[in-house]
């Protein structure tokens, strides 16, 4: 059976069959200081507000974008 995976900022990320909570995925990908970084997250091209990170389960094939402020003109 093939491994389940999602995509975080373009990179493949293996997950368990039952999925992974978005909050845990962000901690794994970014680190524990995630709350200091003014992050914003989209799943499958839809914004997921921070208050919902704990309620969302990421499943096979989901596409996650984790962004933050950067240099810009």
């Amino acid at each position: 059976m093939s491994k389940k995976k999602c995509f975080v900022n373009g990179a493949s990320f293996t997950i368990k069959n039952c999925g992974i909570q978005l909050e845990d995925l962000i901690t794994t990908a970014i680190g524990k200081n995630k709350n200091q970084l003014s992050l914003a997250v989209a799943v499958n091209n839809e914004l997921v507000q921070k208050s919902n990170w704990k309620n969302m389960v990421i499943k096979d094939g989901d596409v996650i974008e984790i962004v933050h402020p950067f240099f810009g003109g």
Partner: protein
């Protein structure tokens, strides 16, 4: 004589500096911070990008948080991309301000007027305060203003080109037609460009490359600040009318007789 206060209010916020600064392309964070300081700016533009360590350094430890952040949608080609980027920036920075950029091509980075207008319609519904980066088309500027953009921001030449004003007549028409906040964005190369734009009565200037890519960004930031203020003062002071012939300044009367 009472002196009227020269206030600039954008999206309900009173702004003292009419110079908005970009934060990209600086040699390092120290020069960036010193340049922002020298410019006297209050509003700085930022992008939203995928998390990386460089970005973490920029936002968490690098940039001083005394500025008002104006997130942009740089690099977006479609309404869908721009709307999501705007939503992400609102979540990240807790601001409903958005500098809306929708480009049409990778070579000239010119704004796509149709996609821009459609996206503005959507973002107005979502209660964003839009700073719309657009082409220097007077009718488009007017339509964006009527739609409810808090600032309309025509280019004067392509982004990062430094070419300065390419169509001054269009700028005059835009200023005449639009009664709201009009800020020139993109194309400034030298302080004289910024000054001229302000002399035409524009409300402000947004620039990045002309400072960041100059030999001495800190000094250039100061020069841009002085130029913006100078142009504004000139506009408010009411310059003299141009004439085809000379108009004597020293009185002729009382001069010794001709011989």
């Amino acid at each position: 004589m009472s002196k009227k206060k020269d206030e600039l209010i954008i999206g309900g916020k009173k702004i003292m500096s009419r110079l908005i600064m970009g934060t990209s392309l600086y040699p390092n964070l120290d020069v960036l911070n010193k340049s922002l300081e020298a410019s006297g700016t209050e509003i700085i533009t930022v992008s939203m990008r995928r998390f990386n360590k460089e970005g973490e350094k920029f936002f968490l430890k690098g940039i001083k948080n005394k500025y008002t952040f104006l997130p942009n949608t740089a690099g977006c080609f479609t309404k869908k991309e721009a709307v999501l980027t705007a939503e992400l920036s609102r979540e990240s920075l807790k601001t409903d301000w958005i500098k809306l950029e929708l480009i049409s091509d990778n070579e000239m980075l010119l704004p796509d007027p149709l996609e821009l207008f459609a996206t503005c319609e959507e973002l107005v519904k979502r209660r964003f305060k839009i700073f719309a980066y657009c082409s220097d088309d007077p009718i488009l500027c007017k339509r964006l203003e009527e739609l409810g953009c808090v600032a309309v921001m025509p280019l004067i030449s392509p982004i990062g080109s430094g070419l300065g004003i390419r169509n001054e007549h269009n700028l005059e028409i835009i200023r005449g037609m639009c009664k709201g906040v009009i800020i020139v964005d993109a194309g400034i190369g030298t302080p004289s460009h910024a000054c001229r734009v302000m002399e035409l009565g524009f409300d402000g200037v947004l620039l990045n490359s002309s400072v960041a890519r100059s030999f001495d960004p800190i000094q250039m930031a100061n020069a841009m600040s002085l130029a913006t203020k100078s142009g504004r003062l000139s506009y408010l002071s009411g310059p003299i009318e141009k004439t085809k012939k000379a108009v004597r300044s020293t009185p002729f009367r009382g001069k010794i007789s001709n011989f």
